[in-house]
């Protein structure tokens, strides 16, 4: 991965941002990260840099509304191509990652939406913490007043499979007033840096901007490991190995917020029968398969279709064709191409029906479950079932999202599916949309990014079920402690 700069492909320099300060690579303290299309030159992460990454008290003292307002301003910048950094980001996603222009624009749009969604952020705080004022004030909860405080230094180990997920992790940590270190993944060095740099564009002296860092270190880097060890919270996105590494290396009091590997499936009931409905469902399914080239945890990898599956399958070919134009596939590495080709050939050996786009851009496999590892690359496994009751046997805690059509299937099956470990059930076509109140991998992430303190009412307040002041000494003397609460 590291080595001298190559002469072919794009040469891109990506700076770090360290505690709100841009750090450009200066030889010899640089490293080159190569992929099939580009060589990215970044600064070398150092112990000295790591030392600068400490909790910033400024953001902890900032009213939530100021943080959200800043994020909103930032999101507005990201809204259009008027913003040069967005233009550069969209171009570099294509050059460096091989992402198609429409898909790159879609990533930038999502970043804008995530940053700009102030009302939704307030709602999210309200739902996940119990009150949107929780980080700014003491909130009455029964006989206490409770207030949420940031954990402190939050380190985000990103996976890079979905570029805009960096924005999700960033916003969650900032609105809970944490200092943020975005540790980029080798396959996406662009997004964390672009986000942090855009904050400097917005206002380099703003406490939020000064609380954000975007860096990269190699997996064996001791300074990076030591930083994780002293972090107050670690959000880790990616493989089980990555999650286990964090569990081994994080401090004993650190809150680990894992987003480990998940898969998602779609379910289509027999109630879909008219041509228009079929077309709509097929397009919705195509969206959930094609977005992020199926690399997201919420991407549909399999669809269970209540028999007969044939009408939907006929419509799917057209829908996949349509989405091939809307979101053209990223350029494949030879490894990506090989994994998909080998999967197709395996399916053929096992007797499955395999339908492939003329250009190899998508694959539909019928009559076979994916092996231990789904190949991604827009491959959909179709299972025809006689009853949707059969679906639950295929669900477990590794299933993040189930997308359904028609919607009333949700009401009929959600108890069963959720009890098997499914985190979310959505309408088909909306599997990527986390609405306020949605769980993420089985929990509310904001609640894990704060610690709660409570102040409790004095003895003069009797409390529920108590009809006299609380005097424990007197009750111990009289042996009446058990009567503290009236029957």
């Amino acid at each position: 991965m590291t080595g001298p700069a190559v002469t072919n492909g794009h040469a891109v320099e990506v700076p770090f941002v360290v505690a709100g300060r841009r750090v450009d690579g200066r030889p010899p303290a640089i490293r080159h990260v190569e992929n099939p299309w580009a060589t990215i030159t970044i600064p070398e992460f150092s112990e000295h840099m790591a030392d600068e990454l400490t909790t910033n008290a400024e953001i902890a003292a900032l009213p939530t509304q100021e943080i959200i307002a800043f994020l909103n301003r930032l999101g507005c910048l990201w809204r259009t191509d008027e913003y040069p950094r967005r233009r550069r980001y969209v171009r570099q996603l294509q050059e460096v990652r091989g992402i198609s222009e429409p898909a790159a624009r879609s990533e930038a749009d999502w970043i804008s939406l995530i940053l700009r969604g102030h009302t939704r952020i307030w709602d999210q705080l309200d739902v996940e913490l119990g009150s949107r004022f929780m980080l700014d004030d003491w909130i009455r909860r029964e006989e206490t007043e409770v207030r949420a405080f940031p954990r402190g230094l939050s380190v985000h180990l990103l996976a890079g499979n979905v570029p805009s997920a960096a924005a999700v992790s960033l916003v969650r940590a900032l609105v809970t007033k944490n200092t943020v270190v975005l540790k980029a993944a080798a396959r996406d060095l662009l997004t964390p840096a672009a986000l942090a740099l855009s904050m400097l564009d917005c206002d380099p002296l703003h406490p939020v901007a000064r609380s954000v860092s975007a860096v990269y270190w190699d997996r064996s880097d001791e300074a990076g490991r030591a930083l994780v060890e002293r972090a107050d919270a670690v959000c880790v996105w990616g493989t089980l190995d990555a999650v286990e590494w964090v569990r081994r290396n994080a401090g004993p009091e650190a809150e680990i917020v894992p987003f480990g590997p998940r898969r998602s499936v779609a379910v289509v009931g027999a109630g879909i029968c008219t041509g228009t409905e079929l077309e709509h469902v097929a397009l919705a399914l195509a969206h959930d398969v094609f977005l992020h080239d199926q690399h997201a945890c919420f991407s549909a990898q399999e669809v269970f279709v209540e028999a007969p599956a044939e009408p939907l399958l006929q419509e799917l070919g057209r829908a996949f064709g349509r989405y091939s134009e809307l979101l053209p596939r990223s350029r494949d590495t030879i490894d990506d191409a090989a994994v998909v080709s080998l999967m197709r050939r395996t399916a053929e050996f096992l007797g499955a029906e395999v339908d492939t786009a003329a250009d190899g851009g998508w694959t539909i496999v019928r009559g076979l479950a994916p092996g231990s590892q789904h190949p991604h690359g827009r491959c959909l496994y179709v299972h025809e079932v006689t009853s949707l009751d059969e679906v639950s046997a295929h669900l477990d805690a590794y299933v993040q999202t189930v997308g359904v059509a028609p919607w009333d299937l949700c009401l009929a099956h959600r108890d069963d599916w959720a009890s098997r470990g499914v985190s979310r059930i959505t309408e088909l076509g909306l599997m990527n949309l986390f609405r306020p109140g949605a769980t993420h991998d089985g929990y509310y992430p904001l609640s894990r990014l704060v610690r709660l303190s409570s102040t409790e009412l004095p003895s003069a307040v009797h409390g529920k079920g108590v009809v006299a002041p609380i005097n424990q000494t007197e009750r111990l003397e009289h042996g009446t402690l058990v009567e503290l609460v009236m029957s």
Binding site: R219, G224, A242, E244, I334, S341, L342, T346, E348, F349
Partner: protein
């Protein structure tokens, strides 16, 4: 002739009719001296017979082959469908009755998803034969006619008994079929000092010493010998054969030429030609041994081709693709496989003079989670935990 080879030969001769592939593997003629044109005709004939036989004896493979009808003008050998080796993790691909399977060999790995390959006597005998044929490429440093006379093998692997059904260990321990062997990985621990002692002892006794093992353990041995003042003067009396690759210790891998130079320095070899690498995998039934030019030669009973990662169609020699093999020595299972390895078929004949296809293996296909290989089992006890994303 060792008892093992005699037994193998006897088994093959028990067959009603000696198959053409056996005439090549076990015949007296040098398979690497067949003229190119004859070799192509021979391989084509062997492959056609081979595919037909497995189609008729293996229902799953027969159904698979039936899905692919070659178009007019297609190269019949190149159009034989190959299947991914992953299928050995999912299916029992035996083409012979269970009673004929003498052993099911496994690739190593800790994930629980390992390849399982059923082998009968004939298939195992042919594998041993392929090793013997491959060793011809080591001449004049090693004469295959004298293998069992004065050769001592110092094996940097576990004994076959300790290794169980792990194919790599079985293959690397095959030296025992031809020569006296000592196994220096015991209880998962590599005994470097004992290996150095054995080399010195055999040299003192005037034996020709074969040092056989994975490159990482060879490097461990060389490092230990260098650090402990145990360098030897092997001159032309040591031949080193590595196999299995660096696997999990890939971070420590050195260039092949560097390994050869270090081996020559510590073992006091006359020539870098005395250090060779070889390739096999559990799903393949032959060994590709390096010649003096350090090219891996494919024997004529194996058809090797690089295929496009995107379409699996054959690519031109010299072009990198997924390496695919049809190994007609595998009777107990259909060895019409496409591997997980990127590589290329060399476009030019090998200057060493041996005929036949030579190939380069570049690297494994990168998947989102790592897979572990054969050398892992031995090395597991010798290293720290695997690196992870973090």
């Amino acid at each position: 002739m060792s008892a093992f080879v005699a037994e193998v030969t006897a088994r093959v001769h028990q067959l009603d009719e000696v198959a053409p592939v056996d005439r090549i593997i076990f015949g007296r003629a040098n398979p690497f001296a067949i003229a190119k044109r004859d070799e192509m005709a021979l391989t084509s004939a062997l492959v056609a017979d081979y595919v037909r036989w497995h189609r008729d004896h293996n229902v799953g493979f027969g159904r698979f082959v039936g899905r692919f009808e070659p178009a007019d003008g297609d190269d019949l050998v190149a159009s034989v469908p190959v299947f991914p080796i992953d299928l050995f993790k999912q299916l029992d691909l035996a083409s012979v009755p269970n009673a004929e399977v003498v052993r099911r060999f496994r690739s190593s790995g800790t994930s629980g998803t390992v390849s399982v390959v059923p082998r009968d006597d004939v298939t195992l005998a042919r594998f041993a034969g392929s090793m013997r044929v491959g060793l011809r490429l080591l001449e004049p440093w090693l004469s295959t006619d004298e293998l069992d006379i004065n050769v001592e093998v110092v094996s940097l692997t576990a004994s076959p008994q300790e290794a169980g059904d792990i194919w790599f260990s079985y293959a690397m321990a095959l030296g025992r079929a031809f020569a006296s062997s000592e196994f220096l990985v015991q209880g998962g621990v590599f005994l470097a000092e004992a290996a150095a002692d054995a080399i010195a002892r055999h040299l003192a006794n005037g034996a020709l010493v074969g040092v056989v093992g994975p490159p990482a353990l060879l490097m461990d041995l060389l490092t230990w010998m260098g650090a402990n003042g145990r360098r030897v003067r092997g001159r032309d009396r040591i031949v080193v054969l590595t196999g299995g690759g660096w696997k999990r210790r890939i971070g420590e891998a050195v260039e092949p030429d560097e390994l050869r130079r270090e081996a020559a320095r510590v073992l006091g070899l006359d020539s870098l030609e005395q250090v060779r690498d070889c390739f096999s995998q559990v799903e393949l039934n032959s060994v590709f041994v390096e010649c003096a030019q350090h090219r891996k030669h494919v024997p004529p009973w194996v058809h090797a081709l690089a295929r496009s990662p995107a379409t699996l169609a054959p690519v031109a020699p010299g072009t990198m693709g997924l390496l695919a093999y049809i190994d007609t020595s595998a009777r107990s299972y259909p060895c019409c496989i496409i591997s997980d390895d990127f590589g290329a078929i060399d476009p030019e004949p090998c200057p060493c003079g041996a005929t036949g296809t030579t190939l380069r293996i570049t690297r494994r296909v990168a998947r989102s989670t790592g897979s572990e290989g054969c050398a892992l089992k031995i090395q597991h006890a010798l290293q720290g935990p695997e690196e992870v994303d973090g």
